[in-house]
Symmetry: C2
Subunit: 230 residues, 2 copies
Amino acid sequence: MSEYNFCYKYPHPAVTADCVIFGFDGFSIKVLLIQRGIEPFKGKWALPGGFMNIDETAEECAKRELEEETGLKNASVEQFYTFSDVNRDPRERVITVAHYALVKLAEVKGGDDAASARWFSMDEVPRLAFDHDRILRMAASRLKERICFEPIGFELLPEVFTMTELQNLYEAILEVKFDRRNFYSKMLKLGILVETEPRPEWASRRMPTKYRFNAAMYAELKQKGFRLEF
Amino acid sequence: MSEYNFCYKYPHPAVTADCVIFGFDGFSIKVLLIQRGIEPFKGKWALPGGFMNIDETAEECAKRELEEETGLKNASVEQFYTFSDVNRDPRERVITVAHYALVKLAEVKGGDDAASARWFSMDEVPRLAFDHDRILRMAASRLKERICFEPIGFELLPEVFTMTELQNLYEAILEVKFDRRNFYSKMLKLGILVETEPRPEWASRRMPTKYRFNAAMYAELKQKGFRLEF
DNA sequence: TAATTTTGCGTAAATTTAACGCAATAAAAT
DNA sequence: ATTTTATTGCGTTAAATTTACGCAAAATTA
C-alpha cells in the first residue's frame, strides 16, 4: 500500500508558514536564520518555518516551527504576505504565509530540520534557500513602514535603555540619521517613555538618563497609531 | 475507481482566493458581492472568489474568479491577509488569500457558481457566507489605513471630477468631515490634480472646476507615499 | 423676492518642524 | 599632566505647516 494516503478530487498545494525574526543588538538590526539539515537546499541558510498541520492556523504553525527549529518561544508573530509563485519549491506546489516578529536577542539553537540557527546582521545575510531572499526583503520594507506609524522598540530593546540606544534603533531600521536633540524632544513628547528614576542633581553628563516604556501609553499609541515624520 | 485521484503523504488544505472589490458612486462606498449558486451557503451573499488552480498564483486566481463570477475584468487586486482558521469551511480545511481592489463602478452580472452579483452600500451589506463578514471588515479597515499614505481616487472616480466629489470620497472612506477650504488647498498642494481646462472668466460659482489626475505625479506619490494628516 | 447653498479665494493665529548653540564633564589622545 | 574629542541635557529661533474662519458671487430653493 502506498504511503500517499491523503486524497482529493482536485490537486491541493502544500502550505507552509515562514518567519522573519528581527532583533537589535544596540547598533544594528539582526535577523534569525537556520541552516537547513535536509534536502532540498541542505546546508543552505533559510528562514525558520515549515509545513502547516491540518489542525492549526498559519500563525500557530509559524510559532511552532520557530520554536522547533530555533528554540525561540512565544514570539508574537504577525503575517505580512503570502507567497504563491508556482515554482517556489522544487518538491511540489507550496504556498507560504510569511510572518515577522520583533524580539529581544536571545540564545538560539538549531533543532528539528535545522542543523543550526544564528543571528545575522542584515548586511551579512548570505543567499538564502527557496525565495527567502525576496521574503526577507519584503519583511524589512514592511518593518520600515510600520515604524513610522506605531511604536516599536518595546519588543526589541531591553527593559531599560537610553535615548541614544532608541535613536540607534530607529536609525538602523530606517537607514537614516536624525538630529539627536530633535529626536530627543520628539520622543519625549509622545509620552511613551518614563525615566527609570529621578536623575540626581550631581549626575554627570556621561551617565545618561535611563528610560523604560510606559506600557499603557505604548499600547494606546500602538492601537490608534501616530505619525513619526522625521 | 475513486474520483479522488490527487494523493499526498500528508493532508493538504484547499486554497482559495477571495476578493473585496470597492467602488464609489459619488456619495458612498460600495462593495461587490455575489449570491452563491451552490452549496454550502447556497442563496447567501458572499465575496467573489474560489479555489486556486495548481498552476496559478493567488493573485491570478483572484482575478480569474472575479471575472467568472461577476464579469469584472482587469481589476488590479492586491492581497491583504490570509485567513487560515481551521473551520472556515464546512466541506474541508480551506485557507483563503484575501485580496482587495478599487474599481470604477461598472455593470456586473452573476456567472459560474454565482447566481447573481451586485453592488451593496457598506451599510446595507447582509450577513455573508463563511467568515466573509470578518474579511470585509478587515478590508475596510485596510482601505482606511491606505488612504492616508498613498493617493487613491484614480481607481474609484471617473476620469473627470470635482473637488467636492473627491472630498466626498475621502469622507466616505474615513467616516469623518473635513473643512472644505482646507481640503481644497491641501489637495492642490499635492500636485496630483490638473484642471481639465482653464476656467473661463465668466464661469459661475455653480460651475465647479473639473479636475483629472496627473498620472505621472500620481504614480510618483503612490510610489514614495505621503502623509495625509487631516 | 428673499433666504440658502455652493464655490473660489484669502488670511491670521496657533502649532509643529528643522537647524543649531552652549556648557559640563567623561573619556581618549598627546 | 594636559589637551582634545565625544557625549549629554537643555535650550532658542526662524521657517513651514496646520487650523479655523471670513467673504463675495452666483445659482438654487423657498
